[in-house]
């Protein structure tokens, strides 16, 4: 210690919350859903998760080296992106496609814009959307859950949401939807595990419950008003996963409470519009990405007024 007197500007106290700590909390919160996916879809889902995580880490590590920027792979954000991406894929997805998704998520959506904190959309969702647009057949082959670990004789079936929106009768009870016994993406099916993870994050104060509650509430009210069964809509599809883990990403969501509510209502409206009136059965990922893009505008409109200032009309300036 050459200089024992350290002179720095504020802040002088640190609460101890680091990027790495936050990401670790998110990973802990995601683990029940990961366990559930292995129970439901077999070890194949573990393989998908591992491939996604590995490709995300490799992409992050290499792109930081190529871009000659300080190495950030240790902050675990790439691991979270990888897990979230895997949770958005069907269990039967070819592993090389999962790897491409990881590379696209990290390189195109995140590192090309400057890395963690600079991405304007959620990287995992970009990975999923690119895969959906690139390999529609593989991305829409939903594995029927609970049929053993063998990957060969798996049968596939339509997701409950696809059935319901086409006006059919769903063969899954609401209880089954709640514990996740239905075809769908890896991590989205087990609502129970996702809610447990969400509660953990709220208790640890990693996320605020505003966005998930408003988002799910909007979907509930909207589907109810449109004459659909709101319970089926909130328990199926990727809504729980999206609302709890994707729409609460720090970088791509508004900062203050009003902005968060606007963001979440927008997500809910778009999700319902795409589900009920759109050509795709599921719209959570597109809804969140579209609202991500609108975040700068929401932030501008909901900027808090400094104390003592009056709101002026735009023309007066």
């Amino acid at each position: 210690m050459e200089n024992p007197l350290i002179i720095t500007s504020s802040p002088h106290l640190h609460c101890g919350m680091t990027t790495r700590g936050v990401m670790l909390d998110v990973l802990i919160a995601l683990s029940p859903a990961a366990a559930a996916s292995i129970l439901l879809f077999g070890w194949r889902s573990a393989a998908v998760v591992l491939v996604c995580v590995a490709s995300c880490i490799a992409a992050e590590y290499l792109s930081r080296i190529i871009l000659k920027r300080p190495q950030t792979v240790g902050d675990l954000s790439a691991v979270v992106t990888g897990v979230l991406l895997a949770f958005n894929l069907p269990a039967s997805v070819p592993l090389w496609q999962a790897a491409i998704g990881g590379v696209v998520a990290i390189v195109v959506a995140k590192q090309m814009f400057g890395g963690l904190g600079q991405n304007f959309v959620n990287p995992a969702l970009v990975g999923r959307i690119v895969l959906m647009a690139s390999f529609p057949e593989d991305m829409n082959r939903w594995v029927t859950p609970l049929q053993g670990a063998s990957g060969v004789d798996t049968t596939t079936s339509a997701t409950p949401l696809e059935v319901v929106i086409q006006g059919g009768e769903m063969n899954y009870s609401l209880q089954e939807l709640f514990v996740g016994i239905r075809p769908g993406s890896l991590g989205e099916t087990c609502v129970l595990a996702l809610i447990l993870g969400g509660l953990y994050l709220v208790i640890r104060r990693v996320i605020s419950p505003t966005i998930p509650l408003v988002y799910i509430g909007t979907v509930f009210v909207m589907t109810w008003l449109l004459g659909q069964n709101p319970f089926i809509h909130i328990l199926s599809g990727g809504l729980m996963l999206g609302a709890i883990f994707m729409a609460t990403d720090y970088t791509t969501t508004p900062i203050n409470k009003t902005g968060k509510i606007v963001f979440a209502v927008g997500c809910g409206l778009l999700t319902v519009l795409i589900r009920v009136f759109g050509s795709l059965p599921e719209g959570v990922s597109f809804a969140i990405v579209i609202m991500n893009i609108l975040v700068p505008l929401i932030e501008r409109a909901t900027r808090p007024l400094p104390f003592g200032e009056k709101r002026r009309l735009r023309n007066e300036r």
């Binding site: 491409i100 195109v108 690119v130 647009a133 690139s134 390999f135 529609p136």
Partner: protein
């Protein structure tokens, strides 16, 4: 082959400013990848390499013909109505191309669709008419049109080839034998923008490297010093060619040159 050799010999005989009028459109001032003109047809038709070739050839024909015609008429066209006059000339040649393509290449006509008649409003063609043909001699203008057209066609074929190969698993319509599994997003608009951005980045890197080499090859003298427009060029004092966005500099240099060529 003999014709090619004759063309090469003819090209070698040209004075250097004629050579430059032709070559600058290929990479350094590539209309699509450096000047970012004509992006609408570029993004829309490059889902296959053949479409890129067709579009490029049609636009090159219009560009060369309109450049020649406008250059011939440059002293007759009043300054105030020059844009409508240019458009009329360009529209005439576009109509010719459209009729020819419809008659002899109906498949290409179907693939290009509305973008074939829209060559009229392609900003490359009007841009060259305004910036070059209306100020330069016929020979220079023809070479400029040829170079710009070649650059446009090359960029379109490159983009179409990449998008077709990755998105459809074929190249010029021939299957690649299943080596590359088709990634549908590359033939969708999003993939078009992605490939476009990557190509712009690549070209910028290439030109920056050229500039660096040219600067190093100079005997310690600054590159701009050789330029006749250096005295009025606002970017001349900047020594490092990479520091100024190269495109701005190019435009400034080209602008001052063209002004000088105006008789």
């Amino acid at each position: 082959m003999r014709m090619f050799r004759m063309l090469a010999a003819f090209y070698r005989m040209l004075p250097s400013r004629h050579k430059k009028a032709f070559t600058k459109g290929l990479i350094k001032e590539n209309p699509v990848l450096r000047l970012v003109l004509g992006t609408c047809p570029t993004l829309a038709v490059t889902t296959a390499a053949v479409n890129g070739l067709g579009m490029g050839a049609a636009a090159t024909f219009v560009l060369v013909c309109s450049n020649i015609a406008i250059s011939l008429l440059r002293k007759l066209i009043p300054d105030k109505v020059r844009l409508p006059a240019f458009i009329v000339i360009i529209a005439a040649f576009t109509t010719i191309v459209q009729m020819l393509v419809k008659a002899y290449l109906p498949a290409i006509d179907k693939a290009l669709g509305i973008y074939l008649p829209l060559i009229v409003v392609n900003c490359i063609i009007l841009g060259r008419a305004e910036a070059f043909a209306s100020k330069n001699s016929v020979g220079l203008s023809a070479l400029d049109g040829l170079g710009m057209g070649a650059g446009f066609t090359g960029a379109l074929i490159l983009m179409g080839g990449i998008r077709e190969l990755l998105g459809n698993g074929t190249l010029f319509g021939f299957p690649d034998g299943g080596i590359i599994p088709p990634i549908t997003i590359f033939v969708l608009p999003a993939g078009g923008f992605f490939v476009f951005g990557m190509l712009i980045w690549f070209t910028n890197q290439l030109v920056a490297r050229f500039d660096k080499q040219a600067a190093r090859g100079d005997t310690g003298e600054h590159v701009c010093a050789a330029c006749p427009g250096a005295s009025i060029c606002h970017s001349a004092p900047v020594v490092d060619s990479v520091a100024v966005p190269a495109i701005e500099k190019e435009l400034a240099v080209a602008g001052s040159k063209e002004g000088r060529d105006h008789e």
